[in-house]
């Protein structure tokens, strides 16, 4: 790319297109120097002016688009009119224009504009690197400085017009060095204070102070939150040694711990404290034996640990406190809050991590981009480098040999998959069934004991079920991993997902069976016993035993594995920390706590303890036994999946079980807060009935009757939600289509750009050293192209140049400049050209208005055609001269002779050339006119293209009826027709899709496509 590549740098449209280039001008690449820089210094200025204008034009275009899209009431005059076409525009004027902008602009526009400008500044910052070649250093530096000052001014204007909060954020998000930011901030502040002194009101000051206060508060809050952050140092250490994917586990653990702390605080303060205040003497009849810590039975049975100990009375210490209601609402509110928190974190995580992720994510970039900057240990860094190298090599070989499996191989893989799924399902079902029967057996055993304290051995027997459950949870996943090793997976991710799905399946079924047993058998067993407390105890045991097994798991899974790997089988090496398995364990434990919250409100305290110990245990085990994971990346996605899993089967399962218990099951008659009621939910009914008496509470009753108890309400809500969901679904589909189109457009623009650059380069090199006229042409063809989006115009002008060249050759063919008729024709052509130029100038001035540019363009085309027509006429007039020798002066006769001679000489070759030219021209025009007129009437354009071709043919026939030429012309005609037809078919379907974009871009695209087809050899 020669001198023209640098022009792109100053062409705003070039920059603001999605495929912008950073700095085509920088000097490390020799071809980027600009030979014109020294020749015509003024043009830099001219370009600058043009650039700015283009930027304005672009903003205007955007605004107009926006308003055209259905907001016609917003005045499009918001954008400033383009600057007059002069090299250095008056900055004062520019400022004024800026200030005149109405304040009521669309916010999205503001931000778009802003980011564009900021990006622009960043770009130019980048271009300031002092490597520019010495030849144009002065000029470019001046130009750039000029430009940067302009940009900074504009930026300042934008910043000043923002609110303080936005301003702070915007400045903070500038990609500049600290000092530059500080300078801008100080300027903005100074400007602001000046403005304030002009329009000083107490209100402005007040709002200023308030916003300042809130900002300070915000900073303090952030600082405080960070100060409270748990395990900051440990987290950093783990992240530094093992990378962010292992850190995910610990973050998750911490997050769950916070959930539990919250739940403990809520339950303790709203349920337990009032009870203790009311009746501090809840003592157990059974003495403490130690085993209770494991079983949760015995001594604990009648403490505040479980549901059974809570009272159903109303406290009357000054204020009334209904314990029943407190119990119900505390748990309900906690569950709802948990749900909301989960949904929010899930949604934000999805938004961040899944929106734009391509399925083929093993690409090299992703590996390179996920390098962990937080890793600090030297050993880990080398290890990561090795891993990354292996992965890169793998990705290369995968790409190289996209292995195609034969049918038997496929069948084999399918068979293995099928078998392993069958076996794992069978295992899961077997486990669930055995747990169920075990539970039933145990139930029978318990019922034989009778009332009173159980013996130590009996109490120990209760540990059988949780032991079995935890054992299964520990052992069965090992089998699953074994299957996983046997199976063949096309990629690593599906392997992990399969493993996760199977494990989730196992845990879900075990928990499901347990819940079924509790709901259907324990709850109906005996009215005398407090079944809720028994379920609570069972859950307590599960939580505790699970804790021990997790410790065992890290002992066997990590410590022993490490010993084996490092001492016995050196080949194995130390184990990796299995994030997926460990996180699933956490999810399972948390589900137990959620289910248990109704039956044992203080279970979260146990959970807190458990997670706390687990954190340190895992940390020690990790740092002592494990090595960093071999596979990097995917950490963010895995985290999203875990949160989703936590929400979907597990939290939803827990909440439905709690809901079912409180809505449909009979509470125990002799214990707990809901004794004597049919369902726990009746508490609310009774309360509402009680409210009837109180005056002024009618609304609560009304809400209860018409909203909470009404099916119609839920029916309507469901309908509305379904409708909204459908609409959003459709929106998403629309967006997807739009994204596809935009991607296509990016690609097209890229092609377009490279094509145009090539074209210009070719033209430049093929054209002989020009005379003054042509250099003027060069100018006139340059400047519109600076006008941002007038590439089509430039194209038209290029074609026109070509036509002129042709014209020149034509006159060369006649070869007698003194010939009156020829020169008059030439003059006429010149006039036409001038007119066309004037028209293009007009067009240049109206460049921000797409329709007018079209008319201008078509005018130019018309002028050209007229010029051609006149040339033809002159031809025929020449013939007249030939027939009528009386009017011939000496010059004329000379001319005629020359012409004859020329015709004789040029018999074959020149005619051939002309016809060739005509053909090219016709082809080009067919393409060009198509795009130009496309919006108005495609049919016209295709027909005109054909007509053009016909004209060319006619002309050729007139001049030299040679058969070979005829054939060529026929071919040309056919080709033109073909092209017209093809484009018609091809471009038509895209028309409605791009409706929102500006007309010019569409034309560009169509032209591009036509050109592509042309290149592809249609």
């Amino acid at each position: 790319m020669t001198s023209y590549s640098s022009r792109g740098f100053f062409n705003a449209a070039y920059h603001d297109s999605e495929t912008l280039e950073m700095d085509r001008r920088s000097g490390t690449k020799p071809p980027h120097t600009n030979p014109y820089a020294r020749e015509e210094p003024v043009r830099w200025g001219g370009r600058l002016g043009g650039r700015d204008e283009a930027a304005w034009g672009a903003t205007d275009g955007g605004l107009q688009d926006e308003s055209r899209r259905g907001r016609d009431h917003i005045t499009t005059g918001a954008g400033a009119p383009p600057f007059p076409h002069q090299p250095y525009h008056n900055r004062f004027q520019a400022d004024n224009r800026y200030n005149q902008r109405p304040q009521a602009r669309l916010p999205s526009l503001v931000s778009d504009n802003m980011t564009m400008r900021l990006r622009g500044i960043a770009m130019r910052r980048m271009s300031m690197f002092p490597h520019a070649s010495p030849a144009d250093v002065d000029l470019t530096e001046n130009a750039i400085r000029e430009e940067m000052e302009n940009d900074e001014q504009n930026l300042m204007k934008e910043l000043v017009s923002m609110s303080t909060l936005e301003q702070t954020r915007a400045i903070r998000e500038l990609t500049m060095s600290f000092e530059a930011k500080k300078r801008i901030r100080n300027k903005v502040l100074a400007f602001r204070s000046v403005k304030k002194s002009h329009e000083f009101t107490w209100f402005a000051e007040l709002s200023e102070n308030t916003s300042l206060f809130f900002r300070r508060c915000g900073y303090t809050m952030r600082s405080a939150r960070q100060a409270l952050e748990l395990w900051h140092g440990i987290m950093k250490e783990i992240g530094g040694k093992f990378g962010s994917s292992v850190l995910t586990y610990f973050m998750f653990l911490k997050w769950l711990l916070l959930f539990n702390i919250f739940s403990f605080v809520v339950n303790f303060s709203f349920i337990t404290v009032p009870l203790l205040v009311y009746d501090p003497n809840i003592t157990s009849s059974v003495s403490f034996r130690g085993l209770e810590l494991l079983t949760g039975a015995g001594y604990f049975t009648h403490t505040v640990m479980y549901y059974g100990a809570y009272s159903n009375e109303t406290l009357k210490h000054g204020v009334e406190y209904n314990l029943q209601l407190a119990y119900f609402f505390t748990i309900a509110v906690y569950m709802v809050l948990c749900g909301i928190a989960l949904i929010f974190s899930m949604a934000s995580s999805f938004k961040k991590n899944f929106v734009l992720v391509d399925p083929a994510s093993t690409s090299a970039w992703q590996l390179l981009c996920s390098w962990d900057f937080s890793v600090t240990s030297e050993k880990t860094v080398t290890q990561r480098k090795n891993n990354l190298r292996v992965q890169l090599k793998e990705s290369l070989s995968e790409k190289a040999q996209q292995e195609l499996l034969t049918v038997p191989e496929k069948l084999k893989h399918f068979g293995i998959h099928f078998c392993s799924w069958l076996v794992s399902t069978a295992l899961v079902v077997g486990c669930a069934a055995s747990i169920f029967f075990l539970c039933q057996y145990e139930g029978k055993l318990f019922s034989q004991w009778g009332p009173g304290a159980a013996s130590l051995q009996q109490e120990a027997e209760t540990l059988l079920v949780p032991f079995m459950v935890s054992l299964m949870n520990l052992v069965i996943p090992l089998f699953f991993s074994l299957f996983n090793k046997l199976e063949h997976y096309s990629n690593n991710r599906s392997q992990i997902y399969t493993l996760v799905v199977r494990n989730v399946f196992l845990r879900m079924s075990i928990l499901g069976v347990l819940c079924y047993y509790w709901m259907n058998e324990v709850s109906l067993r005996s009215p005398s016993q407090c079944w809720e407390s028994m379920v609570g105890q069972a859950l307590y045991r599960l939580v505790i035993v699970d804790f021990f097994f997790q410790m065992l798991g890290s002992f066997f899974g990590e410590f022993l594995r490490n010993v084996i790997g490092t001492k016995l089988h050196r080949r194995l090496g130390p184990p990796e920390f299995d994030v997926a398995r460990n996180v699933l364990d956490l999810i399972y434990a948390q589900t137990l706590a959620w289910i248990g919250i109704y039956f044992s409100p203080l279970l979260p305290s146990i959970q807190i303890l458990k997670f706390f110990i687990l954190f340190y245990l895992k940390k020690v085990s990790l740092t002592q036994n494990c090595q960093p994971p071999r596979r990097t990346g995917r950490a963010a996605q895995m985290q999203t999946i875990f949160i989703f899993l936590l929400f979907f089967p597990f939290f939803v399962g827990a909440i439905s079980i709690v809901g079912y218990t409180s809505w449909s099951l009979n509470p125990s008659q002799n214990c707990g807060p809901f004794r004597g009621l049919n369902q726990a939910f009746s508490v609310v009914e009774i309360w509402i009935e009680g409210l009837h008496i109180l005056p002024g509470s009618g609304w609560a009753v009304w809400i209860y009757k018409n909203i909470i108890r009404s099916e119609i309400f839920y029916f309507l809500i469901t309908l509305i939600i379904l409708g909204v969901t459908y609409v959003f679904y459709q929106l998403i589909q629309g967006r997807k289509e739009l994204i596809g189109l935009l991607k296509q457009r990016i690609i097209n623009e890229g092609k377009d750009k490279s094509f145009l650059l090539d074209k210009i380069q070719n033209l430049q090199s093929s054209r002989p050293k020009k005379d003054t006229r042509q250099s003027k042409d060069g100018r006139s063809s340059h400047q519109p192209s600076l006008g941002g989006h007038s590439d089509a115009v430039r194209q038209a002008l290029l074609a026109r140049q070509q036509a002129e060249q042709e014209e020149a050759t034509y006159s060369d063919g006649v070869s007698v400049p003194a010939d009156i008729s020829t020169s008059s024709a030439l003059m006429q052509a010149m006039l036409a050209r001038q007119r066309a130029e004037r028209e293009t100038e007009d067009l240049y001035q109206r460049v921000e208005d797409p329709p007018s540019s079209f008319t201008a363009l078509s005018l130019a085309m018309e002028a050209r055609q007229r010029a051609e027509g006149e040339m033809l006429q002159d031809n025929s007039r020449e013939g007249d001269f030939y027939e009528n020798p009386t009017t011939a002066s000496s010059a004329v006769s000379q001319a005629i002779q020359a012409r004859l001679r020329a015709e004789e000489e040029a018999s074959a070759s020149s005619a051939m050339m002309q016809v060739m030219k005509a053909r090219q021209q016709a082809e080009q025009e067919a393409g060009m006119q198509w795009t130009d007129v496309q919006l108005q009437n495609p049919a016209v354009s295709s027909s005109s293209a054909v007509a053009q071709a016909m004209q060319a043919r006619l002309r050729a026939e007139e001049e030299l009826p040679a058969s070979s030429v005829m054939m060529q012309v026929m071919q040309a005609r056919q080709q033109a027709e073909q092209e017209a037809g093809m484009e018609w078919a091809h471009v038509q379907p895209q028309n409605p899709a791009a409706a929102g974009s500006s007309a010019l871009i569409q034309a560009m695209l169509a032209r591009q496509q036509a050109q592509n087809e042309y290149d592809d050899g249609y």
């Binding site: 950073m22 060095s177 600290f178 500080k182 981009c369 480098k385």
Partner: protein, 189 residues
């Protein structure tokens, strides 16, 4: 202004808070760590710069394969020696902090990866980048053939306008598709 004299005054602190993504504690911690690096004889000088060699003794940067690039990118020194003033240091930490936006992070990542500072990632830059990330010694590096293929793949994937280099917007496009970037482009003091 970046005074490294023993204490940060309150006005400066709030200015730092406003212009960076860091919290008060982080700024104070950064200040402490920075002051520890300042040579004794310069401790009272306003706006002193710490040479790159000293900065690289920080454990957070010591083993980072890009440590020198990071210093050079964030340095505002006139002679491009990678030395950092306190302002530059805060800038660095701000860009690598949790709350920095994707745009800022990708911008700086681009500049860090742009080894020859020419504003685009050419083949040479990409080669250096891969070498930086896959090992130092010669025998562990990728073979030239593999390297060529890898870079071809990279360019094919990301070079939308087919000019043979990856520019900032193309790079940001790539980044937007790899969600791990934000969580891994992070340095905690």
């Amino acid at each position: 202004m970046g005074a490294t004299a023993s204490q940060l005054d309150k006005g400066m602190l709030s200015e730092y808070q406003e212009l960076t993504f860091l919290t008060k504690q982080e700024i104070l911690l950064a200040h402490k760590r920075f002051s520890e690096l300042v040579p004794k004889e310069e401790i009272d000088r306003i706006n002193c710069r710490i040479p790159m060699s000293l900065i690289l003794t920080l454990p957070e940067l010591k083993s980072n394969p890009f440590n020198e690039r990071i210093c050079k990118v964030f340095s505002t020194s006139d002679i491009k020696d990678g030395s950092l003033s306190f302002d530059d240091f805060l800038d660095l930490l701000s860009a690598f902090s949790d709350s920095a936006t994707l745009e800022i992070k990708s911008h700086y990542a681009f500049r860090i990866f742009d080894f020859d500072d020419d504003g685009t990632l050419g083949r040479h830059d990409l080669e250096k980048l891969v070498n930086c990330l896959t090992g130092g010694t010669d025998d562990t590096n990728l073979t030239p053939d593999e390297m060529r293929q890898l870079i071809d793949n990279i360019l094919e994937e990301s070079d939308i306008d087919k000019d043979g280099t990856v520019n900032l917007s193309e790079f940001q496009h790539v980044i937007s598709r790899s969600p791990d970037f934000v969580s891994s482009f992070k340095i905690v003091l």
